[in-house]
Amino acid sequence: MSDLKYILKRSALTVLLIFFAITVLFFIFRLLPGDYVSVLAMDGADPETIESLRAKWGLDEPLYIQYITYIENVLQGDLGMSHRYRQPVLQVTGRAIVNSFILVAPAITTAFILGSGFGTLLGTNRSEKGELWGIVPLTFIGTFPIFFMGILLIIVFSFWLNLFPTGGMAAVTQQGLPYSELLTSAGFWIHYFLPFLTIVVNMLYLPALTMRTSIVEVLGQDFIDYHRAKGLKRRAQMRHVMKHASLPVITQYPVSLSRAIGGMVVVEMVFNWPGIGYLLLQSVYQRDFPVVQFVFLLIAVWVILGNFVVDILYSSVDPRVTVEGQESN
């Protein structure tokens, strides 16, 4: 089967998967009791308003009807209105998505770069002491739950050392500023540092250990000896080693990235970072269905896409992996 056909087939499968994911998420979420109207009701709204709101938002329809309506709307590009904010979902989530992205993407990328570098060092310089002082602390720190790491850093750097603020994305005065101004202000970066560090430190160990193991394995291969026997310079030899050894880490990266976008809820909570995870959590408390459904959709698309990208990426980096996994000759 040609590459093109494979990609088409895979794309169709991807769409199916996304569809399946959001369906499951839709129904599971509804298992939680109540809807936004019930939240309002807690504040003491009168029954008529409640009923009319319910009708307006279609929350009184049977569940499967709501589902079909939802799907119909999504397919037409109508992602709904947030119950809580009375604004289109995209508007409500737009800024949150960007906020998450500018925190998480650089952090994970940095973690991978630093981690791979460290892993390479560990893999190429093997000594008992090196392994002890390299792997143990790395793994130890990596096993801290991310919120613990976050809180720890806050205690050290915010309370004790008074260097950084304890949370938020920017000073109160800077709320709502356009990004061009935000990103060039010192205030932003001071707020940025701790959550960024938290994510980096927490994610370091995965690429580091993967890279180390990979390098050790590759170094044991016959063809590495042959490269040496050919009289290639050390740098050239390392290039060949890295070409092989980096494959596992390269495939981990998109996966980590795609998982993280949705999964940094905890970090955002600890640091009050107004990202999509934070918004998601709030919306869950508020039973703001449209927003929640949208975020689920987003996460599903992102994760599944990430996996898809990995497949394509791998087959282009390693020529042995033809798109269908056939063996040549």
Partner: protein, 336 residues
């Protein structure tokens, strides 16, 4: 004939966690221009280790404990990695490694590998390199239009031949071939040795052929070095040794090979296994397996001595002179 390579009293040790192993003891031999030297021995005889040591390719735990290796007159046993890389490897001495089908990096196309290799040691143009590669491919029976393929697209036998082609790329003085045809069929083996000999004639290339197959050595080599437990048992001109073997190991080894010209002949069995030498050895390494050993054989490690004053033939058997009589009087070696 001048000596291209001289190995003199080479002793090599490997340090494992528990003990050290002496893989090679006092090895002495040389390689001349346009000469094929066969390094024969069973597994564990140290033959591969010698090949590795010449190119500085031993593992980290292996070291040359004593002795010298000279290439074109210059001592190379203490070369740094950098010196091996720039002065010796591939441009002067190339290698066909054991199990060579695993040696080619699977994810680099062959032509790229050749270009990288040639550009490391020469200033040849890309065009020249690729033309040469195509020529070599044809010589070893590979389709010249497939130089752009990846190694994994070749079968095992084809990869092995590609490795042989690579060894010739820079027209080295010496090729160290470690079991170059082991996994190949007899017909392919024959084809390859045909090419190798052609190259010897056309390019004056020398070879150290490391193998356990005595037939291949007899057919293709000029001299042979027979190793047992890292120590040279016999060494010299092939025809001399064939006509007049002067070490029990040589005699028994020859008799243990089936020969299709006489399929009913019984094969000689050599008792025991080659001993693993730890720190130093103080008896003949073959003594415990030898049907003709006497007490003196267990006294100390014998030296290589010329046979009957012949400079082309050396043996380390102290009973070399009496061997004829001893062999006849015994019932080993093909008389059942």
């Amino acid at each position: 004939m001048s000596n291209l390579l001289e190995v003199e009293d080479l002793t090599i040790q490997y340090k494992t966690r528990d003990a050290s192993v002496q893989a090679v003891t006092d090895a002495t031999f040389s390689v001349e221009e346009n000469q094929f030297v066969g390094l024969i021995g069973e597994s564990g005889s140290g033959k591969t280790t010698i090949g590795e040591a010449i190119l500085g390719l031993m593992d980290d735990n292996g070291e040359i404990a004593s002795g010298k290796v000279r290439y074109k007159g210059e001592e190379i046993q203490d070369y740094s990695e950098e010196e091996f890389q720039s002065k010796l490897r591939w441009s002067e001495i190339s290698l066909i490694p054991q199990a060579s089908m695993n040696s080619l990096d699977p994810i680099d196309p062959l032509d790229q590998q050749a270009i990288e290799l040639a550009k490391t040691h020469t200033d040849w143009s890309k065009q020249k390199i690729l033309t040469r590669l195509q020529e070599l491919f044809e010589i070893v029976g590979l389709p010249a239009d497939r130089i752009t393929d990846y190694p994994f697209q070749f079968s095992g036998g084809m990869q092995q031949r590609a490795v042989i082609a690579f060894s010739l790329l820079l027209d080295p003085e010496i090729i160290i071939a470690d079991e170059p045809t082991t996994a190949l069929d007899v017909i392919m083996q024959d084809q390859i040795f045909k090419y190798i000999n052609q190259i010897k004639d056309e390019n004056d290339t020398s070879m150290i052929l490391i193998t356990h197959d005595i037939s291949v050595v007899f057919e293709n080599c000029d001299t042979m070095v027979l190793l047992h437990s890292g120590h040279i048992a016999e060494r010299g001109n092939i025809k001399e040794i064939y006509r007049d073997p002067r070490h029990p190991y040589s005699i028994l080894l020859e008799e243990s090979f089936p020969d299709i010209r006489s399929p009913d002949k019984s094969l000689a069995i050599i008792d025991g296994k080659p001993p693993v030498i730890q720190e130093g050895v103080d008896m003949c390494t073959f003594a415990e397996r030898c049907p003709w050993a006497n007490d003196d054989c267990f006294d100390e490690l014998p030296n290589l001595e010329p046979v009957a004053g012949d400079e082309n033939h050396y043996t380390s058997c102290i009973r070399a002179e009496e061997l004829d009589a001893l062999v006849e009087g015994s019932d080993v070696a093909g008389d059942d």
